[in-house]
């Protein structure tokens, strides 16, 4: 049996006491590439934020089979949530990932800078290290944020719509980076996305979020054409 990283036991999550998702019961296994799919407003991001510990668990229990303080999950937010007023280079953004392991009064030194540069290399962006983060293209920014997540040396990556708002070429590059990290480093990845066509060949399993709950199953079964037609009223085109 594969190692479980996270197990949800009849979990409810939501905002300010308002439950959005109920009766969540599934596991995220080590090395898995998982896609969180579902209609708009179904609660995909809510579920992701619940897994990250950013939202309170309103019922049930989430078991983490790793030390979240020592090895926090690698979190990749949507780039629009970050304010462009901050004067930061791409390397400085990636360095923030190393803060996970740095105690107060300890600042990023040579080891952390080397690690950050390596992570930028892993996403194919060595050349932009000194460039202002906000001058990069949407796809490049998203890859910098993936590098930042890698800099925390996580066992699990949690990504919120990493391909939203980027052109198809950049989206394909991002998915390729994630696929290689999953295949070569056995890094577990859970990503929220709308782009079914992009994740269909890569995801081993899908968590389908709809109707106030979520269920997990193999990609072929969860993304069967009749299911997609039933939910979206049209074949998958994303």
């Amino acid at each position: 049996m594969p190692n479980e990283l996270i197990r949800l036991h009849d979990v409810s999550v939501g905002y300010e006491g308002r439950t959005v998702l109920n009766h969540l019961g599934f596991a995220v296994e080590e090395g898995e590439f998982l896609a969180l799919l579902g209609p708009n407003g179904a609660g995909k991001t809510t579920l992701l934020r619940g897994l990250l510990g950013l939202l309170p668990v309103l019922g049930g229990r989430i078991e983490y089979h790793f030390d979240r303080a020592a090895t926090p999950p690698g979190y990749v937010p949507q780039r629009e949530t970050l304010d462009p007023i901050f004067p930061l280079t791409a390397l400085e953004v990636v360095l923030m990932g190393t803060y996970a392991r740095l105690r107060p009064l300890r600042h990023a030194g040579r080891r952390e800078r080397t690690r950050a540069a390596e992570c930028l290399g892993q996403v194919g962006l060595d050349a932009v290290a000194a460039r202002p983060f906000w001058s990069l293209s949407g796809g490049q920014k998203q890859r910098v944020l993936i590098a930042r997540a890698l800099a925390s040396e996580p066992r699990l990556l949690l990504l919120d719509e990493p391909t939203a708002g980027v052109d198809p070429g950049a989206a394909a590059v991002i998915m390729d980076v994630l696929f290689r990290l999953n295949r070569d480093q056995a890094l577990t990845a859970v990503l929220v996305t709308h782009q079914i066509r992009l994740v269909r060949p890569l995801a081993q399993a899908v968590i389908w979020v709809d109707g106030g709950t979520a269920i997990k199953g193999p990609t072929a079964e969860m993304l069967a054409p009749e299911r997609i037609l039933d939910v979206f009223g049209a074949p998958a085109t994303g």
Binding site: L54, P73, T81, M96, P104
Partner: protein, 295 residues
């Protein structure tokens, strides 16, 4: 040139005022960097006004609890400091709490804070029958009245603020730039916010007492806005803002002394002049670099 040599002499009669002025000019922008980055610039107007209300309240409270006083009979600066710190910190904490749970916009809350603080300042001043010109000077911030003792307090307190800002800059950056990531990293987000607010509160309180609300607000926002235009990294952003503030304060002091101008407005005007010049240069640079200018 003679004036410059004169004000740089150790025995210069207004040396303490000059040093105090430069300290306010250097340290307020270091705190103001976070006002700009967290998009709380209007808080920079409201908090100094709240600090002024705290100073006025301290004197009214003294009269009500201890009894009437004549200026000079009580340690005015200690009393003013207590009132300023209490009101500023209280204001920041209440606004921060409302930011998390409130439904109104941030601007509305800050606007109300400013209006209430300004009204309370006047009312507290009127309620104190001994609120004379000296008291008004304390509220406006009479930098020329800086003494060696008050300069010592200012230097120690600002020194502590600078140490905190640089020692914990990694934490302050993380909670300001990506609060969610800080939570995922299991950092004590509330504690770091509180420490930052404490540094802001102390800086504003001392800034208002030394130089008044206008100068404090000016140095909180103008040098960081200027530095933001010319820097690409966080550390250089903070250091450039502090350098610009200190330079504007020194140049302002020189101009005020040389041409017999009011000190605070001169300092703010010079800092704003630098902002205007850098903004213009940046716009011209962008225009020159744009493809249209090449045609």
């Amino acid at each position: 040139m003679d004036t410059l040599v004169e004000i740089l002499r150790p025995e210069f009669i207004l040396r303490d005022a000059l040093v105090g002025s430069v300290l306010v000019g250097a340290v307020c922008p270091l705190v103001g960097v976070y006002f700009v980055l967290r998009r709380m610039i209007f808080l920079g107007v409201a908090l100094p006004q709240l600090s002024a209300a705290g100073i006025a309240f301290a004197f009214v409270a003294y009269r009500l609890v201890v009894g009437p006083h004549e200026h000079g009979n009580v340690n005015e600066r200690s009393l003013a400091m207590a009132g300023a710190v209490a009101f500023t910190l209280g204001g920041i904490l209440v606004l921060a709490a409302l930011e998390r749970g409130g439904r109104e916009t941030v601007e509305a809350r800050i606007g109300v804070t400013y209006a209430v603080a300004a009204a309370l300042t006047v009312l507290f001043l009127v309620a104190d029958p001994h609120g004379d010109a000296q008291m008004v000077n304390l509220l406006k911030g009479d930098i020329l009245a800086t003494t060696s003792a008050s300069l010592g307090v200012l230097a120690w307190a600002f020194g502590a603020v600078v140490v905190v800002l640089f020692a914990f800059r990694k934490e302050f950056l993380l909670v300001s730039f990506d609060r969610d990531l800080a939570v995922v990293f299991r950092k004590r987000v509330g504690l770091w916010d509180l420490l930052l607010y404490l540094a802001i509160g102390v800086t504003i309180s001392l800034g208002v007492m030394t130089a008044g609300p206008l100068v404090t607000f000016g140095f909180l926002v103008v040098p960081p806005l200027t530095a933001r235009l010319v820097t690409r990294r966080m550390l250089s952003f903070s250091l450039t803002a502090a350098g610009l503030g200190a330079t504007a304060a020194f140049a302002g002091f020189y101009c005020a002394y040389r041409f017999d101008l009011p000190l605070g407005p001169t300092e703010v005007a010079l800092a704003s002049l630098a902002l205007g010049a850098v903004t213009s240069a940046t716009m011209i640079g962008q225009w020159m670099a744009s493809p249209r200018s090449a045609t």
